[in-house]
Symmetry: C2
Subunit: 466 residues, 2 copies
């Protein structure tokens, strides 16, 4: 039971294919327009208003956690970096913008500016895999205001999506209590490309691997999977289907036994003998079936053969199966993980917090009733007891979570590998109070503002609202 089904099945990372750079190349000639139109009309307006040289600081934060979450794991930074380092506009894209009614009054020099556009600013961010809480910046972009404004849409979508999936994965992995969780959800993801990036995020959150082959190729994530129902149905009988699978997969064979009748399927798989990594149940009562299947396999001397379950699983069902002692060695999780179905979006914002005009700093905030934002560039200090959101440049106790990633348009140092991000998530989560790692909502992690930040908030409110 202890040995993971997937190692037994010969699954392994595809070494030599690790790398985050390949993902970005696809956007190189097409990323300028991958944003909301108003980012671009505002860009034209900033340009027209003579604000192109003003330096703006925007930060990505969560307004609140979804009711079912105790933390959110930061993820998606690598794609944001790819995006920023490649952000540009082709002649065709500029020509498209010029044809829109909204750009009829934009100055011609603005389009020349777009032609030369590249990101020259700074990015500070918490490393991928860091658990964060409402109000804490996941990342901060400081750049000439147009360069910092245009990325808003991409940053919000990419960071919120991957962080959401990484967090769901962490819960699911926690519920599995040491059994493997494999991400099976591309078919349910919001586009196949979201499946690729969701697999990446799920791996950061602790999944053992993914069914998504492109995620394996592009990011070096272990890829897993064996056969589906169509495989079984395409042969005249399960016996022949199982035999042919062993022929082509050998020790990696995991037989899918529920196409017709799962116990009969288990008996036929057992009769087929070795090589057999295991069997997979994809429907029915997993607790009852897994016990019966375990007996069948053991009686046939196949005690090394593992049992995998998949189909409508989430962290709650997995926890219940594990608690009930179901002899299931690995869980394949699709829909619920790939769409974070119980919390399919995060309340994330990307807000202007500071402007620097000719060396003078001006702090900005939004004091509207239900959607406030807080002024000034920030840092977060975490010690064993709490987080302190401070002003950037303050000294504080514990780990400073935000680190320089891009300075002056250049990557400061190579990003952590995906494996390192996954390791960081595991380490950071192990330091959180156990109540926050459980599935139920626990006492929130204490997050406070520093005195300096509180003063800035009050001063800014006074300046803006009088």
């Amino acid at each position: 039971m202890g040995q993971p089904i997937l190692a037994a099945a010969g699954f392994q990372p595809a070494l030599g294919w690790v790398g985050q750079a390949s993902a970005c190349q696809r956007y190189t000639s097409m990323n300028g327009l991958l944003t909301d139109l108003y980012e671009l009309t505002m860009a034209a307006g900033y340009f027209d208003a003579g604000k192109a040289a003003e330096k703006a600081t925007f930060e990505f934060t969560l307004r609140r956690l979804p009711p079912q979450r105790n933390f959110v794991l930061a993820a998606g930074l690598a794609q944001v970096v790819d995006y920023l380092l490649n952000l540009s506009f082709t002649a065709d894209e500029i020509s498209y913008l010029r044809g829109l009614a909204q750009f009829r009054l934009a100055p011609g020099a603005f389009f020349d500016y777009l032609r030369q556009f590249r990101f020259t600013g700074d990015v500070f961010a918490a490393p991928e895999g860091t658990p964060l809480f409402p109000g804490e910046p996941f990342l901060t972009i400081r750049a000439p205001i147009i360069e910092a404004q245009i990325p808003e849409t991409y940053v919000l979508s990419m960071v919120a999506f991957q962080s959401m999936i990484a967090s769901k994965a962490a819960r699911t992995v926690e519920a599995a209590a040491g059994r493997d969780v494999v991400e099976f959800g591309t078919r349910r993801a919001h586009t196949p490309e979201a499946g690729v990036l969701g697999a990446r995020a799920a791996y950061i959150g602790g999944c053992a691997g993914t069914s998504n082959t492109l995620a394996g190729y592009r990011f070096g994530i272990p890829v897993m999977g064996t056969a589906g129902h169509s495989w079984v149905m395409s042969f005249c009988g399960e016996k022949e289907a199982f035999r042919q699978l062993q022929r082509v997969l050998g020790e990696a064979s995991v037989q899918l036994i529920d196409t017709y009748e799962p116990l009969e399927g288990a008996r036929l798989a057992a009769q087929g003998g070795s090589p057999l990594a295991g069997v997979r149940l994809d429907s029915g009562d997993f607790l009852v079936l897994s016990r019966q299947v375990r007996e069948i396999l053991d009686a046939a001397g196949l005690s090394e053969a593992r049992i995998m379950a998949s189909g409508d699983l989430d962290e709650y069902r997995i926890r219940d199966l594990v608690k009930a002692g179901a002899p299931i060695d690995a869980f394949g999780v699709g829909t619920q993980l790939a769409t974070s179905a119980d919390a399919p979006n995060l309340n994330a914002v990307y807000k202007l917090v500071e402007l620097e005009i000719s060396g003078i700093h001006r702090y900005t905030a939004k004091y509207s009733e239900d959607k406030p934002s807080y002024p000034g560039a920030k840092q977060v200090f975490r010690d064993a007891a709490r987080d302190v959101i401070a002003r950037s440049g303050e000294c504080g106790k514990g780990e400073a979570l935000l680190r320089p990633v891009i300075l002056g348009g250049r990557l400061v140092e190579p990003l952590p590998t995906l494996g390192q991000a996954r390791q960081r998530a595991a380490e950071c989560l192990s330091k959180l109070p156990p109540a926050l790692r459980q599935l139920e909502t626990g006492e929130p992690w204490p997050v406070i503002f520093s005195r300096e930040l509180r003063e800035l908030i009050e001063r800014t409110r006074h300046n803006l609202l009088g």
Copy 2:
């Protein structure tokens, strides 16, 4: 009130940029691996078992509707066609596969086969914009079994996602009762690319346009949007921000008035006078505020200026606002639409239903307890009273919903334009009983099996289970 805000604001489709072909080019060299690994290990197994020449028919259907839906609008076919017509494997991709443990036993000739791979089969599908019901094929792929198996993951994700978003959009547009609904959700979408394709689906479902610029560029969808809070905050005071917006957007100016205090914002916008397309509220009590803002605008002689609302809107809130007579001319809908938050996935399957081996047809089905599938290639006939799911080749009453799209690996005729798909959705929906177009769950549309199909189901069950 009657005139749509967005026409007034000078929004218009970007003519000359309509086209579905550009989307596919990005996948040309990278789509072979955009699938679950088991599709590829099954492919190796089919090849190894001598089944490469067997012709398989797979169909995409829904097992059931989400509880909050009365229909699902088919969407995503154009991307599936792009994918299939470009499906191929690069040398690097093949070399990646060869390095995986799961392909250690695969015959060398299989990799030669992949090198030459292209889709040579047939696709039959309901046109985009067709409302469909559980059990009805959205599309059917008939091809040599490997060519039909590999697309499973892509087809499930792409068609389910776009169909889900189109359906959510149709509900939202219905609730708006003639007022414009604009898709604002890319920042909440599950990756920015999902935002682009979600915008496409939302347009099919009846949205007036999108905030996503790339969706405008790539698909010719009207793009909309004006300015965000950072615009307002970047100036010293709303008055200056509003003036500068008018300078750059002219008649397309829609002022965002809730950064500090919405009524004061409305008064400042009104003082700015013309040109002014309208104002946007992004927080607060929309019913109360929209009435007060309407008075302020009217009192300033700006009765032509429109009011747009955005922020946490869905079909239910829109319906309530419309019923209460809120003077809101357009709704910007983000999170709920872009993630279909109340039903963020569809229970879709892609099942093998028929095999043809040397001219002999063999019918396949899955009779597992909770996840059955039904044998044989199918057609759906729709008349004014019901749908009949029949065997392919049967004659029936009404419209035959499934039409040939690709035959022998070639597109039969150009696909309908996106505008035509949107038109089809509107026409088909207008023919459904009113109870099914409402937000609440209504009496299901009658869908029955033809006698011939029922007989095939029984015969196949008997053959498979005895």
